[in-house]
């Protein structure tokens, strides 16, 4: 019995390492300086890089995070600390549904609203909004679960000192739960960073540098590249060189998400030490 369970654990961990190893094996040959600093070469030509895709992914995940973190954390706090009635039940149920909603459906919805009606063309902002919709329920449910783990005795200690409930949550409960909340946020960032389907219908992808940050409004109204879209384009092409680049871009995506996760953790730890 122990052997069976141990074997399951081995398979679970093994798959991760096999995938990671294989991507490194296939993708590493594509990596060079140009791959990180140049825009993609036309299909069929060698050389070029994925810099627009890296910037695009960071931009749209950033927009998604800006929208999703306040909404998700707020909803999570509501469910854990105030959510007692029927409304809370509905919110919880809908959040669960939203987690399981196919991301292509979310993409289609955002396309119908933001792409077709509001902006009138594929655009980066719509991509960010689609990613935010994917992130919100993940953050909400993680934050709720984490806050429920905070011992009630701490809330009581604070309330018994004559502290209002909102201050108790903000200054006593949230600091204790910060690590867990962060995990939820990182989880959602990683999930959003790897999403392809909703971006296909919203940001579309872009082979060129189109980042004029002096004019962010214009930039966000244009189609934007993203790593998953770039991987998709490369993988569909018939050229062996493009396939190598697809593997390379996959590796870059994993690295970008890894750096993002570690970066967020470090930033929070530093602000923690300075207090």
């Amino acid at each position: 019995m122990t052997g069976l369970i141990g074997g399951s654990a081995l398979v679970a961990v093994g798959i991760l390492f096999i995938i990671l190893g294989y991507i490194i094996y296939r993708g590493a040959p594509a990596l060079n300086l140009a791959f990180f600093t140049e825009r993609p070469a036309p299909l069929g030509q060698t050389g070029g890089g994925v810099l627009p895709a890296i910037l695009g992914t960071l931009t749209m995940v950033g927009i998604g995070a800006l929208i999703a973190i306040p909404v998700g954390v707020g909803a999570g706090i509501y469910l854990a600390e105030y959510g007692r009635g029927r409304f809370a039940e509905v919110v919880r149920f809908v959040a669960d549904l939203l987690v399981g909603l196919p991301s292509i459906a979310i993409g289609a919805f955002v396309w119908a609203i933001l792409v077709v009606r509001v902006v009138g063309g594929y655009n980066a902002f719509a991509g960010g909004v689609a990613l935010a919709i994917i992130m919100v329920p993940i953050i909400t449910r993680t934050v709720e679960e984490i806050l429920k783990l905070v011992p009630n005795s701490l809330r009581e200690a604070s309330l018994a000192l004559g502290t209002p409930r909102w201050k108790t949550i903000l200054l006593v409960v949230l600091p204790v739960a910060r690590g867990g909340i962060l995990t939820g946020v990182i989880l959602s960032l990683a999930r959003a960073g790897g999403e392809t389907a909703p971006l296909l219908l919203t940001a579309l992808g872009n082979q060129f540098f189109f980042f004029r940050w002096s004019d962010p409004i214009n930039t966000l109204q244009q189609p934007m590249a993203a790593l998953p879209l770039q991987i998709y384009d490369y993988a569909r092409s018939p050229y062996a060189d493009s396939h190598t680049k697809a593997w390379g871009a996959s590796l870059v995506l994993i690295i970008v998400i890894g750096i993002l996760s570690i970066g967020v953790r470090l930033a929070v730890r530093r602000s923690n030490l300075q207090r």
Binding site: P151, S153, L154, E156, A157, A160, G162, T163, P164, P175
Partner: protein, 339 residues
Amino acid sequence: MSKRPDIPTTVPVTHDAPKLETARLREGPGAGAASRGVEYDREVQGDLRREPPVPTQRGGDPIATRPGDTGLTRTHEIEKSAYSVVAKQVSAWYGGDKPAIKDVSMTFEANRVTALIGPSGCGKSTFLRCLNRMHEETSGRARVEGEILLADQNIYGKGVDPVRVRRFIGMIFQKPNPFPMMSIYDNVVAGLKLNGMRRRADLDEIVERSLRGAALWNEVKDKLKASGASLSGGQQQRLCIARTIAVEPEVILMDEPCSALDPISTYKIEELIGELRTKYTVVIVTHNMQQASRVADYTAFMLAGDEGYGELVEYGETQQIFTNPRDKRTEDYITGRFG
């Protein structure tokens, strides 16, 4: 924070200081606030001594619910007159139709220690939590009926902010619960800081005074920056007491404060409780009858009857309860015949 109308109230001070004070459960610094470091008014209005109201007796039961006021040797000088608390026919529910306690009426004398004893499930902790409106925090359906008068003002009255009630009536819990992310220093001033008081010089003074008041100063004065969680269980409980007295309450409620502690820590807390009565009114729930007889001036015995809800059986001076109980059920309990 919700605004509420001021309710001026008269305060009977029955010991040592025959004067009438006015307290307002409202915000804003007042005349006496600066010296006490808290935000409420206390105006001395004249010298009038009033008898505490006589609580109603339970239906037909001849047992007095209020103890006599004489015959106790006082071992401590009263430094500050605290408020008394009067409970009038308090019933509490956790939800549903069945109450956890029903029609409990008793007076907690100012500057005295009152112990609530009784078997598990008799509702003594529930009753204690009603006294500073913590009961309603347990769930959305918990509710309380009856009146609880702090200085003649009903804390369940219309428009009374439970948050402000809890600044007057502090609470110590069964398990020591210092804030784990805070230092010893920050734990002591947590109640003040959480409510906006940040003057550094004042805080330093309050920290020392509160830790001395909780008999913890000598043990921690060299490591105030250390985490509150690094202390032993008994020290943590005294830290929680320091945190409570830092906000200068009138009444301190203790919910089995020693049940998680070793005998030596328990002894120190019991000694401390004796000193606390010089400034505060203390109510302590305990499973330990020896503890009640050691620390309490008055003792109340509660019991869950056949109907399932807890009620007050007998209330009197501790010595009388333990040596000459009037009720058969009290006698059975203290002699260990049931429970």
